[in-house]
């Protein structure tokens, strides 16, 4: 075992320790403040339908209409390939709920599945063609 290999081994152990500590510091990802999320506010229903298509679900709640969109991260992003197999990642996706009152988007809510994986890019992709 060369000195080079021993130092490499030490670096590997240090790397693992750093990642383990980092993993223990788990902070939930932010679900607001994204560019397209904010740009949707104030848009009319027809504008949203034109740029994002029909919602996955839509229903009324009091005087508001909730439009819900969903996008799941593609499998190619979640699963990585090694030399003789693969490493399965976390299936994740993002629900975007638009609260519409008086035909205007009042607020936009992102919800990640699972909640500790940042899937904001999936929600932002839903509204890639939306801009004001």
């Amino acid at each position: 075992m060369t000195r080079q290999s021993r130092v490499l081994g030490l670096m590997i152990r240090l790397l693992f320790a750093c990642l383990a500590v980092q993993a223990c510091r788990a902070t939930p990802p932010a679900t607001e403040g994204y560019v397209r999320q904010m740009a949707l506010r104030g848009m009319s229903t027809s504008e949203v339908l034109a740029c994002a298509g029909p919602p996955t679900r839509q229903f009324a709640e009091g005087d508001a209409i909730l439009m819900r969109y969903y996008r799941e991260a593609p499998m190619l992003e979640e699963s990585t390939v090694g030399s003789k197999g693969s490493h399965a990642g976390v299936h994740h996706g993002c629900w975007a709920t638009l609260v519409v009152r008086a035909d205007r988007v009042e607020s936009v809510r992102y919800r990640f599945v699972p909640s500790d994986v940042d899937a904001s890019n999936d929600c932002e992709d839903i509204f890639a063609n939306c801009s004001q």
């Binding site: 590997i12 693992f16 500590v21 399965a88 607020s107």
Partner: protein, 340 residues
């Protein structure tokens, strides 16, 4: 801060490097300088990034949303994937030494793989299988020479993933050595755009996802500890990084797998390193990747298996609602609320 910390990082051992350069025929094991620099760079960079993000912990952007949370909505819903996978086919465009059978005979020409996975219980319990087939370019590129089957349960708890896996590698066109093992693996995940405010400020449109961990091959039947089929593997250390260069459509990735030898004096020191670097371009359900792999011994001279490959992946998935439409699964009551 990053710079200050890295001043204290272990320096590259110049004496060994010089010894290797001066005495290339030495029986002592010498990693090529470029490989060493890449490995040290990856490790040191990740550590520095961790320290930088740690220092900026108070600036993290994770904020609760008091009025917008949906309590009780943690369940997967019908639009989410029930099961998915991908088909992979690849050509080893340059392959001087990567063997086409577990006994190290032949040279791989083509690789074909089917990957299937399904969540059995949310993100906590997932089953997946890989069926890998290789052909021997010295016997034509079509006839299959090796079949590697992998079956695993895996899951994620917070940033940690676990895995329980069985793999069996067997020749297909003749009898010969079969390699099999069962292992456990625990990895920790790092997602730069989520975990590092510095990264989010500096690279708002890129992301770095990495995981690293260690595993134990608690069952081992001829699963070797070096590329020349010597020793028997006991532990493995893994590290993987994906650098999302452009909207998850262009991704640069690297992968490292170290194995230790249960027959060695020190069973925790790595005896083999398998590393991969590649670039993948994704479009819709397809991915085209170019990558290079090298499997080398670390504690002695011996066979180095390496190749350069191009591969295509086609992914597919079936949603829960599609299964429900086929009448194979009943959804919860709220799934049947009228929608319009």
């Amino acid at each position: 801060m990053t710079v200050d910390v890295c001043r204290h990082c272990p320096p590259e051992p110049a004496s060994d490097r010089d010894a290797c350069a001066l005495n290339p025929g030495s029986t002592d094991r010498c990693l090529p300088d470029a490989v060493s620099r890449i490995l040290f760079g990856i490790a040191a960079g990740t550590i520095a990034l961790f320290l930088a993000s740690h220092a900026a912990a108070l600036e993290k952007y994770g904020r609760p949303l008091p009025s917008m949370e949906e309590p009780g909505h943690e369940d997967r819903e019908e639009e989410e994937t029930f099961f998915g996978g991908y088909l992979l086919t690849g050509a080893f465009v340059k392959n001087p030494t990567f063997a086409a059978r577990p006994d190290n005979s032949g040279l791989v020409g083509m690789r074909h793989m089917l990957h299937l996975e399904t969540d059995l219980y949310k993100q906590y319990l997932t089953f997946y299988t890989d069926q890998n087939f290789f052909s021997d370019r010295t016997k034509g590129w079509v006839e299959l020479s090796e079949w590697d089957g992998t079956y695993a349960f895996t899951g994620m708890i917070d940033r940690f993933s676990w895995r329980l896996q069985y793999e069996r590698d067997a020749p297909l066109d003749r009898s010969g050595i079969k390699q099999a093992y069962a292992d456990t693996l625990i990895t920790a995940r790092f997602q730069a755009i989520q975990d590092s405010s510095w990264w989010r400020r500096t690279f708002p449109n890129q992301n770095l996802t990495a995981y690293a961990g260690a595993g134990w091959l608690f069952h081992n039947s001829n699963y070797f500890a070096r590329p020349d089929n010597s020793g028997r593997a006991l532990f493995r250390y893994v590290a993987h990084a994906d650098l999302d260069v452009y909207k998850n459509r262009v991704v640069i990735y690297g992968d490292m797998n170290f194995f230790t030898d249960r027959e060695a004096g020190n069973q925790t020191n790595p005896t083999e390193l398998d590393w991969i670097v590649g670039i993948a371009v994704r479009w819709r359900e397809m991915e085209l990747a170019f990558y290079r792999e090298e499997d080398r011994p670390l504690d002695r001279d011996g066979l180095i298996q390496k190749y350069l490959a191009v591969q295509l992946r086609f992914s597919f998935d079936v949603s829960k609602s599609a299964i429900e439409r086929l009448g194979l699964m009943n959804g919860p009551e709220h799934h049947r609320l009228p929608t319009y």
